[in-house]
Amino acid sequence: MKYLLTALLLSLSATPVLACETVQLGSLEISEAWSRASIGMARPGAFYVTIRNIGATDDALAGIATPVSGKPMLHETVVKDGVASMPHAPAIPVPADSTVQLEPGGYHGMLMGLTQVLKEGETFPVTLTFRDAGDVTVPVAIRGMGAKDAGCVDKKD
């Protein structure tokens, strides 16, 4: 029970507000960027985000960069015949008029070679590179290790 209380207290005192704001890049709306707290720096982290394409043309997320990872990559968790694997995703399609989520058990940014400990309640920047729309940097909320989403209160759609 203690870990729950701690998580609750931390989430009350933290300020994930910034990371819950939507950042606009052309016809792309990027929101709910989050990651989980890390134990030390040896393990890879994961990065999740919601990308909404309100435009009429397709785009694709081609890569990510962040000062907290020496080797960030795009991955997709695939469960086939009950076995989970995590192949590299060369790009993540962001079709016209649709919403794509990097979320637990699906597409994610894999943050290998962490350069700092990810502490719950803090934020770090991630630059998303889109094939057509170009680059945009968003603040990423670091949530508890047991988190399953960005924890934004006024969640859209």
């Binding site: 029970m1 870990y3 729950l4 989980r36 707290a37 134990i39 040896a42 393990r43 890879p44 982290g45 994961a46 080797k71 991955h75 968790t77 469960v79 086939k80 015949d81 009950g82 076995v83 989970a84 694997s85 995590m86 637990p104 058990g105 994610h108 894999m110 943050l111 290998m112 508890g144 290790m145 047991g146 988190a147 399953k148």
Partner: protein, 202 residues
């Protein structure tokens, strides 16, 4: 209790037998993962020796008498494992004190890095009723095999990751296999599966 009810109905003989067989068939079909040809052995027929995250030796025969939940993972796993652990933590929260009457194990498929101490640090972030198990690679392989699960080390540049069976295995208090909660399975489906085991054991 439930068995007695079945026996009473069983007074009509053949009809009840057909019913029981039908039930068995349904449960097996429900629990089978697509592509997996075999069911896990009952716990009573399992044989392996692992160490828990408190450094205590564990054998499956000790699990009999309580419903058991087992899943495979590793602490370097960034996506599937923390998600499964938080799913389980949420189920346990929903089950409340009832879940105190269960065995809940995470079996590491990365004994190289997951020592008991590493597991202890990692699991302190989740429900304390989850026990981590690790051991020699040979014993981990024996455990994975009797669950009819799989794992495979996948080299990745100067590092590695591990593909592994992602579902949560359920066993009845008497050790018989009680189904699998697949990864991504909705909690409205997952919770009743666990509650059924607990009810049968009470």
């Amino acid at each position: 209790m439930r068995r007695r009810t079945l026996l009473v109905i069983g007074a009509s003989g053949v009809g009840a037998l057909a019913f029981t067989l039908g039930l068995g068939w349904w449960q097996n079909r429900d629990s089978l993962q697509p592509g997996s040809a075999l069911l896990p052995l009952p716990i009573g027929k399992m044989s392996f020796t692992l160490t828990n995250h408190r450094g205590v030796t564990v054998t499956p025969s000790e699990w009999i008498g309580r419903p058991t939940m087992v899943f495979f993972g590793f602490t370097w796993c960034p996506d599937v494992c923390p998600t499964t652990l938080s799913d389980i933590s949420l189920w346990l929260q929903d089950l409340g004190p009832d879940a105190d009457r269960m065995n809940i194990f995470l079996v590491s498929v990365d004994p190289e890095r997951d020592t008991p101490q590493v597991l202890a640090d990692y699991l302190s972030n989740f429900d304390p009723r989850i026990t981590g198990l690790t051991g020699s690679l040979a014993e981990i392989k024996r455990a994975v095999e009797v669950f009819r699960a799989t794992f495979e080390k996948v080299p990745r540049e100067d590092d590695y990751t591990i593909d592994h069976t992602a579902g949560v295995f359920l066993f009845r208090a008497d050790g018989r296999f009680g189904g699998i909660i697949d990864y991504h399975e909705d909690r409205r489906v997952a919770l009743p599966k666990i509650q059924r085991l607990l009810k049968a054991a009470s």
